[in-house]
Each structure stands twice: as C-alpha cells, then as structure tokens.
C-alpha cells in the first residue's frame, strides 16, 4: 500500500508540474508549485515510513515550512506588480 500511494503521489506531482508549465497566469504557476511542495512533503514522509526511520519526518516538516514561506513571499512580491492580463481597475 505504501508503494502504491507513493506512485499515486508521483503521478499527482507530475500533473502539478504540467500545470506549472502550462499555467496561463503567474498565479496558476504559483498554485501548482505550492501544490507540488505539499506533495513533496507527503512523499518524504512516505519515504520515511518505507525506510522505517523518523529522521525523514524532520525534513518533511522543514520542507513544509519552506514551502509556505516561499509561497507567501512570492505573493507579497507579485501583489505589488501589475499583471499584463489584468484590466486597469486597480484602485
């Protein structure tokens, strides 16, 4: 079951990567990268279960932290920049 779940997580990561490459807007790409990061956390935790070691979970927790900080930092960066698709209706 662990192996099957690992394969499913890898497939879902591939689909998220596809949206990252295709995404028409920059938010689509960031959403997909954030989703990819969440799946990476799950994959690392699953590898830890496969290896029977709890050290992996520390790495997974750290990855979750970095993933969240990175997403929010990108948000703050983009929020101040106008977007080419957007109409001129910013107040």
């Amino acid at each position: 079951m662990l192996l099957a779940a690992g394969v499913a997580i890898l497939v879902a990561m591939g689909l998220a990567l596809l949206r990252t490459l295709l995404g028409p807007t920059v938010w689509d790409r960031i959403m997909a990268v954030n989703s990819f990061g969440t799946k990476t956390v799950l994959l690392i935790a699953l590898l830890g279960a496969l290896a029977g070691r709890t050290d992996y979970l520390d790495i997974a927790l750290l990855y979750a932290l970095i993933n969240f900080i990175g997403t929010v930092a990108l948000m703050k960066y983009i929020e101040t920049a106008p977007h080419e698709d957007a109409p001129e209706e910013r107040a």
């Binding site: 079951m1 662990l2 779940a5 689909l15 997909a32 709890t54 997403t71 929010v72 910013r90």
Partner: protein, 108 residues
C-alpha cells in the same frame, strides 16, 4: 488481523486517490479560481489522510508525534496559502471570465 495496518492502508488509498483527482482537477478546470479550488481544498484533505495513513507504519513512537506536527502545520498553512493566492489574484485584477449572456449584454 492487524486492524491498525488495515485502517492505515485504507486511509492511504483514499488520500492517494484524492491526490490524483486533485491533480486532474487543476489541469481540467477552466479558469484560475476553479483550479485554485481544486488545489486548495483537495490538497488539505489528501495531506491529512495520507499522514494519518502513515501513522500505523511508525506505531506509537516519536514518529507519530512528528506526523501529527506536520499535519497541524499543513492544516494551518495550506488554506492560508490558498487564501493569499486568491487575494493576490483578485487585488491584481484577475477576474473570472464572464458567461456568454453577461458578456453579450455588457461588453467590457
């Protein structure tokens, strides 16, 4: 029969199915906000299910506590990141495409 392992396997299976469904969702939905819905909602639940499904593999050890910590962290940050994305997109002026009737009556 090891009921803990069976429960963990079922939770893992459901979580993995949800992850793949969410992956299909973010590729098939028509515009950004619906894709964000697929990503944000599904990822939170699937992460919770997968982490809960991993707990029997570690047993009652420090590993399960760390899994619970990851779970709590994801439970807070995943919706927060989703909200930040939607807010940023909305503030930058990204709108849903209008339906055909709306766009024909009020072209803008």
């Amino acid at each position: 029969m090891d009921w803990a392992a069976v429960t963990g396997g079922v939770l893992l299976g459901v979580g993995a199915l949800l992850l793949v469904a969410g992956g299909i969702g973010i590729n098939r939905f028509p515009h950004f906000y619906s894709r964000l819905h697929a990503s944000g909602v599904v990822d939170t639940l699937a992460a919770a299910l997968v982490l809960a499904g991993l707990a029997p593999a570690f047993g009652v050890t420090l590993g399960t506590l760390k899994l619970a910590l990851i779970f709590v962290f994801l439970l807070f940050t995943s919706p927060t990141a989703c909200h930040a994305l939607a807010r940023s997109a909305h503030l930058s002026g990204l709108r849903e495409p209008r339906t055909p009737q709306e766009s024909s009556s009020s072209p803008s």
